[in-house]
């Protein structure tokens, strides 16, 4: 057991506490190595310093101001009306999430296969989204550089079926592209392709009766839509003087999104009666009065 191994383990620990060391090898190394014990002290000091930093005094005045207005803020029943002109984006996503949660009486899932795909693919999608959300080229380069080797290795070691592997490889390629590019239209295009792939997988999971996979995929789909596509389209729509090429691409993305929404609506309609009530609530439709 050498220092780099132990230090890497320490940096990943939930609580940097040698007393909670479950590995005898790690414990023995920490007993004799002053450098690694020094790292523990440094990490503890780092986090303690962060905890102890005082907040700006304005934090408390802001609280007082908020509390003084609290009496006029009446808790509202039901769902607040959305002011977003693109409520149909979110409605379809919310509906798909509750649909996934409501499906019942289905087949057992392949745990090992789903687990392997889940971990790597989910990490790749989160990584893609993180890249897309950073406007700084330097930060994007750092985010990419810090994780690419680790994720390539994870992907190489994961036992994935052919189509999942192809999807994961595409996400890896996307990440490289996202680290160098931030044109919102092009980013939206990329994530539209990801959303299309996810929707195909959602449909397949529903057909297979794989509830857990269905839920996981709809969560990923929602993330991609809300963080990867919508914000980029907002930027494109807000920009003035779109040329013909951008208009054409914008229309294609919106059309594809509409097609996905219709597909989700169709999935929704196939849900059991008991789940439709919850789906209607998610869509913000009026509830019937309690009897």
């Amino acid at each position: 057991m050498d220092c780099p191994q132990v230090q890497d383990w320490l940096l990943r620990m939930e609580a940097v506490d040698p007393e909670r060391c479950s590995s005898p090898e790690h414990a023995e190394h920490l007993r004799i190595c002053t450098a690694c014990r020094g790292l523990i002290t440094e990490l503890a000091a780092l986090e303690q310093n962060w905890r102890e930093l005082p907040l700006p005094a304005s934090a408390l005045t802001a609280k007082s101001a908020f509390l003084s207005t609290l009496g006029s803020q009446a808790p509202r029943r039901g769902r607040a009306a959305s002011s977003s002109p693109r409520v149909w984006f979110r409605s379809a996503v919310a509906a798909s999430l509750l649909l996934a949660a409501s499906v019942s009486g289905l087949l057992m899932l392949d745990k090992s296969r789903a687990s392997a795909a889940a971990n790597v693919v989910e990490q790749l999608i989160d990584w893609n989204l993180e890249l897309a959300e950073n406007s700084s080229p330097t930060k994007r380069t750092n985010i990419y550089g810090d994780r690419v080797d680790h994720l390539r290795l994870e992907l190489a070691n994961a036992k994935l079926p052919g189509d999942d592997r192809a999807f994961a490889e595409q996400l890896l390629t996307n990440a490289s592209w996202l680290s160098q590019n931030d044109d919102p239209m092009s980013v939206a295009d990329r994530f539209t392709a990801v959303a299309d792939s996810l929707l195909d997988k959602i449909d397949a999971a529903r057909s297979d009766g794989n509830v857990k996979e269905l839920r996981r995929l709809t969560r990923l789909y929602a993330r991609v839509s809300e963080r990867g596509i919508e914000p980029k389209l907002e930027i494109v729509l807000a920009s003035k003087g779109l040329d013909f090429e951008h208009m054409r691409r914008l229309e294609k993305v919106i059309l594809k999104d509409d097609q996905r929404r219709q597909k989700l609506q169709a999935l929704l309609e196939r849900s059991p009666e008991a789940s439709r009530k919850e789906i209607k609530r998610a869509l913000g439709l009026p509830r019937k009065a309690n009897k």
Binding site: D8, L11, R12, E14, L39, E42, L43, L46, E47, N49, W50, R51, L53, P54, L55, P56, A57, S58, A59, A62, K63, F66, L67, L70, G71, Q73, A74, P75, R76, R77, A80, A118, N119, E122, Q123, D126, E130, E133, N134, S135, K139, N142, I143, D146, R147, H150, R219, R223, R227, E230, P231, E234, I235
Partner: protein
Amino acid sequence: MPAGTTTGDSEFPADGSADFALVVEAHWTAVYRFLFSLSGNRHETEDLTQETFLRALKRIDSFKPGTKMRSWLLRIAANACFDARRKQKRIAFRALDWEAASPEAGPAHRLEIIEQSRLLGMALEELSDLTRMVFHLRAVEDLSFREIASLAEITEEAARWHMHHARTRMLKRFSEKQV
């Protein structure tokens, strides 16, 4: 509020805005601190903290008694921050504009706090928003990686990776400053 709702550790009868005031008293500082770690800017943090509690007030009926109010609020706060960023294209993280909260602190102590905050702020500025979030939730809120993964909608392994990354970067920054 749903019956059995707790603010922190104590239970109280659920009725009206007076109860929500207790929620604000119990959790305002934690939410503020969390959002400050994400944005580094006082004014944005104040706006986002208010937005968080307003959203929480609207959705209080959806809070599940028996679960942690603090985690629920921090999730709302994270979403509020990311929503604002999407609308503004970005919330640029700036080095934290701390000021010594206690006017009684002597000049030397205030300088020490300012320097410490400057170093920490610079170190955090190098991190992505998600990494900063994970670091804060682990170091300050003492959430487990599982809880952090649930709140941030990432895998537990990803949360662990972000913490590793944050610790590595910050230690490197501090050791460079000491040379």
